[in-house]
């Protein structure tokens, strides 16, 4: 520790009001973020509510071992990773492509109109989104099955079929968030130096070539940062939607770590076990984000920290 000099003290004293401004957030974080970190120790204990976090007995890694040994461990891991990677592969490029296309539009008004429309689903709640899936995909009355019938096909039980869980999860996610995610890329594209485009045009580059050789390299740092963030969150995919879409009929593919933590912890009150599963999940997350960040730094000189 460096001993604070007199000057530092006097500066802190002079700025005491600023520390008062910071007081609320520090209290909220200490109580609601840091105290639960202390509570994480119940993952290594046999938590009993009457004895409290401190008084409960240590059991070491028993809960982790139980989880790894449980019959559905591999299913849950597989479900979580498959869903995460598939959504990343399909959802990540979509806003980049659409932002580049929008950026190439000449008619300002029509562009604005399209933007207004494609941002809109972002403001719909997850409950409503899943509700829309239910009404659209209903086997008897949904418009999708009416359409399939009109084409001469048989109605499909979308929401009650484990094979459809992933495609529906990913497609509805693309529908809801792609538009809104374009904003950040459009901002990056707006910052592309117009002289680069002019020079390329002089050299006879077509629009397609300019997109490929000017636009994409220019927004690469933005893409890398967002990719790191997305990869770092790969294990914490949207709990809410998976939970809302989950039913006994699609459980085989919809049972992912976050929903399992909820099921074991909140519904079955297996506090210690559920905390251990959650901790295992966030450990993978941390390792992933640190690794990805390091790789990105080496390869592209862009990184989060």
């Amino acid at each position: 520790m460096i001993k604070p000099s007199r000057k530092t003290w006097s500066r802190m004293k002079r700025d005491y009001e600023l520390y008062l401004f910071l007081l609320p957030i520090i209290i909220v974080y200490l109580v609601f973020k840091y105290y639960p970190m202390y509570g994480v120790q119940i993952a290594f204990k046999d938590f009993s509510p009457s004895r409290g976090i401190w008084g409960s007995e240590w059991v070491g890694f028993q809960h982790f071992i139980d989880f790894f040994d449980s019959y559905n461990f591999w299913t849950i891991m597989n479900n979580t990773l498959t869903l995460s990677f598939l959504s990343l592969i399909f959802s990540f490029p979509a806003p980049i492509i659409i932002a580049i296309m929008l950026n190439q539009m000449l008619g300002k008004r029509y562009k604005k109109f399209i933007q207004t429309v494609i941002y809109a689903p972002h403001f719909i709640s997850t409950v409503v989104l899943v509700g829309m899936l239910h009404v659209f995909l209903s086997p008897n009355s949904g418009i999708v099955n009416h359409f399939i019938a009109w084409l001469g096909g048989e109605p499909i039980l979308f929401m009650a079929n484990e094979g459809w869980f992933r495609p529906l999860y990913i497609l509805s996610g693309i529908w809801q968030e792609t538009g809104f995610s374009t904003i950040i890329y459009l901002a990056a594209l707006a910052g592309v130096n117009p002289e680069l485009h002019e020079a390329a045009t002089m050299d006879g580059a077509s629009k397609w070539k300019r997109v490929w050789n000017v636009d994409i390299p220019s927004i690469l740092p933005t893409i890398v940062i967002l990719l790191i963030l997305a990869l770092g969150n790969i294990m914490s995919i949207g709990f809410e939607k998976a939970f809302l879409m989950q039913s006994d009929l699609n459980y085989a593919t919809s049972n992912i770590i976050p929903t399992y933590v909820y099921e074991m912890g909140i519904q079955k009150a297996q506090y210690s076990f559920s905390t251990a599963v959650g901790l295992f999940n966030s450990m993978i997350n941390i390792v992933l984000i640190v690794t990805v960040n390091r790789v990105a730094k080496k390869m592209t000189e862009t990184s989060l920290w």
Binding site: M101, H146, G232
Partner: protein, 298 residues
């Protein structure tokens, strides 16, 4: 744009044609589900059920809306959501803005430490159960406080506001004011806040949308149905198919019940999303601004 850039080769014309066509198709794909929910909510449930409603409402009826508005749980949900969004936004924005200002100042002692103190929580957290046990021990279960306090001052929001302050309120301004004898608090209220209306708008909107659409905290922390926000009531209707018997007065046969249920579903989607979707075009520029400020690395 330079004149030169407007000159087009044949390939460029094709590029534009394809670009416009694809974007138009994408726009229609996004728009149609929203539009369909709207027309279906005004259509005769028998015609929806048999698949005759496609592009325009058929057999115009307000029956669904009448049933929805006669149901007290919807109104209770609305009132609760407004309360939670109101109180939550007030607390959330206050905590965020108060925290962001000192962190935007160049010379604050301990600034780096405090930033790390906040940012670590992005990568590591106690998780669901320890947080739940804490809320329980604090006797916050089944109260509004469980929904509005624990998440107040999210790191991303603090960074967005801090970046805004850094770029629009230079330290020189504070130095000049302090020479004139202005205190930090006074400077904050009479100079910083009036100059930051746009970021305040962004924060208010982010919070309102978050609270209006949120349902998970309410699911975990609330068990009294009279305290349920709208989204939890929607979940019962839309996902779990539990339409209140109050909405079903005068419907006798099972088949008719199924149809009316569908109509009610379309209606509640509209009723619950309408406030945000109506406001949204007017607020669009603020949302865009917020995302852009947030995207500046800092």
């Amino acid at each position: 744009m330079n004149e030169l850039l407007k000159r087009k080769s044949r390939g460029d014309v094709w590029f534009d044609v394809i670009n416009y066509t694809v974007l138009t198709v994408i726009m229609l794909l996004v728009l149609f589900p929203l539009y369909f929910v709207l027309i279906a909510s005004f259509s005769d449930p028998n015609l929806i059920y048999s698949g005759e409603v496609w592009l325009f409402p058929k057999g115009f009826t307000l029956d669904g809306y009448v049933r929805i508005f006669n149901d007290s749980s919807i109104w209770i949900g609305y009132a609760n959501s407004i309360l939670y969004a109101g109180v939550g936004t007030l607390i959330g924005v206050a905590v965020t803005v108060f925290a962001a200002y000192p962190l935007a100042r160049k010379n604050l002692v301990g600034k780096t430490f405090i930033m790390w103190f906040l940012m670590i929580t992005m990568f590591f957290s106690g998780g669901l159960i320890p947080t739940y046990l804490l809320i329980k021990d604090l006797h916050m279960l089944n109260t509004i406080w469980a929904l509005v306090i624990p998440g107040a001052g999210g790191v991303f929001n603090v960074i967005i506001v801090r970046t805004f302050f850094q770029s629009s309120i230079p330290d020189e301004m504070w130095e000049a004011a302090s020479i004139d004898g202005c205190s930090n608090t006074k400077f904050f209220w009479s100079i910083v806040l009036p100059l930051s209306k746009s970021i305040l708008a962004v924060m208010v909107l982010y919070h309102v949308v978050g609270f209006w659409n949120g349902f998970f905290d309410a699911l975990i922390y609330l068990n009294d149905e009279n305290k349920y926000p709208l989204q939890l009531i929607l979940r019962n209707i839309l996902v779990q198919n539990q339409v209140n018997s109050g909405m079903m007065v005068d419907v006798e046969s099972y088949a008719a019940k199924m149809r009316v249920t569908e109509l009610i579903k379309y209606g509640v989607i509209i009723v619950s999303s309408l406030p945000l979707l109506l406001l949204y075009p007017f607020l669009q520029k603020y949302f865009v601004k917020g995302v852009m400020i947030g995207s500046i690395k800092g």
